[in-house]
Amino acid sequence: MASQRRKTKGENLALRYAILGAWALFCLMPVVWFLSIGLRPRTEIITPTPIYWPSFSLDAWHMIWEDWPMGKYLRNSVLAIIGSVVIDLVLAIPAAYSLSRFQYRGREDIGFYILSTRMMAPAIVAVPIFFLFRTLGLLDTIWALMLIYAAINLSFVTWIIRSYMLDIPKELEDAAKTDGAGEIRILWEIIIPAILPGIITASVIAMIFAINEFLFTLLIASTPEAYTMSVALANFTGGSDGVIYNAIALVAFLAFLPIFLVVVAIQKHLSRGLTMGAVKG
């Protein structure tokens, strides 16, 4: 009886792994597909008959690094994204603390206003933003990209962090107050550590939005000095060489890689963060 039960349990486990493995493979297909395109010769990409075992080639790899300042694009992306997330957190954490903890007239309206900025179509503000940055002398700089990415993401970063702060028991702050802590201490030593999964979650989502951002980057960046990976992709879609699919695939993979590595590194916090708000909210 017992061994039969064990066997059934073992079979169930194998079936579970098989299903999960198949699902993982399905989810990874776009990445594998991109890599397979990026690492094959250009001549084997568009063919009348399918090629199941393409030949391996690093042509696109050499091209993107030798013919294009890909390192600079990557650096620009990383700097602009990290900078924007830092700006977001510096502004969003105190804003969220205020919205979640203090009672004042119009608090809910302010919260909704912050969120509503996300509802605006980006094209509406594109032209004013262009003139604003031109006046500030920030066109074609990473600083401008940091600011614009931060502005785009600030509303939902604030909102996500606020929802995590609402989950923190008020007793913790009361205890800290009677222990002798002021508001800044409470925020820094009690609240922020307690909502770290939420901060990480909001940061990763902001990073994903920022690395995908195209419209404003194209508007602000006009030279490789400020081009990011998303705009760099556009470099391979025109010109005398036509659409260079294997280069596009490799650049897309490179753009995907940093966020993927960040997510893998912090996935424990991330999954906790994503579920924490859901369960308690």
């Binding site: 028991p169 009361d174 205890a175 222990d179």
Partner: protein, 349 residues
Amino acid sequence: MARIELKNIQKSWGAIHGVRDVNLDIADEEFVVFLGPSGCGKTTTMRMISGLEEPSEGEIIMNGEVMNDIDARDRDVAMVFQGYALYPNMTIYENIRFPLRMRGIPKGDQDGMIRRAAELVELSDYLDRKPGALSGGQRQRAALARAIVRQPHVFLMDEPLSNLDAKLRQHMRVQIKHIQRELKITTVYVTHDQIEAMTLADRIVIMEKGAIQQIGTPDEIYNDPANTFVAGFIGAPPMNLIPGQLQGGVFTAPGVQVAGLTQDYAGAVTLGVRPEDCHVTSGSAHLTGSVYGVEPTGDMTFLTLKAGEKLIEVKADRDYRAELNAAENVAFDSARVYLFDTKSGERLR
């Protein structure tokens, strides 16, 4: 150490009155328990003492100094919360150290103070653990250690034992009382558990609907209740309250007659008598009823009698047994029969 005076304290949120006209003088080193049902204003009163809540009116005075405008962090009170409120990201050591850091205690002194506090609550072996790795009782002891570590002027405890099981609660009660006596720190304790109140308090403050109903020692509260609320709130099972009529010193109600009462009053009254002051008798009785329920508990038997429409609780001998609906006579301990004005609920003396 501190003497606390509450003068005409009121707390309201718009039309809602949380606390009404509370006046109380808590002596230095005294252990005062606020007791009452949920929503009676006891926690709000404590939060006003702590500085976490501002009174709408009245004065909170500590050692002669009005504290109304002084922040919680500057009041030198330490609070223990119902949900422990331990900082989850810090070890127990760091938790206990937190108030010392906030108050600028020199680093060299901190370690000794932390270890002494941990020793006092028997938590020395758990200092390097995070709160999540401790049991409920250990967490509560850690919260207690964090409160006592800097020897504040006042301890405030907001239902600190309500999340613990009965056995642990009894153990913690003894520990809290021992620590309070040892440290001689003025303590205000909030609970809705009358056993905690009776066992811990020097004085009990009974509250209902935001107002104080009675202040007194546990004996005074139990033996000399000021009104029907106090009489019915204290005791397990609570005091029997039997509505009836008083005429010429004789109380009558369906199945009940008590003569020789000295109160100079005529009209609707409520007679109060505790279950342990009711005795099953075969002789002359004050109450005659039918057996409604018999509950042996080992050391005694709870007998419930039905007299008219009223159920009367009696603490009978451990060997007492009876058939349902059997007629039974009960005599009251005459010296422990209380009368209350039915309309106002106030005691008639």
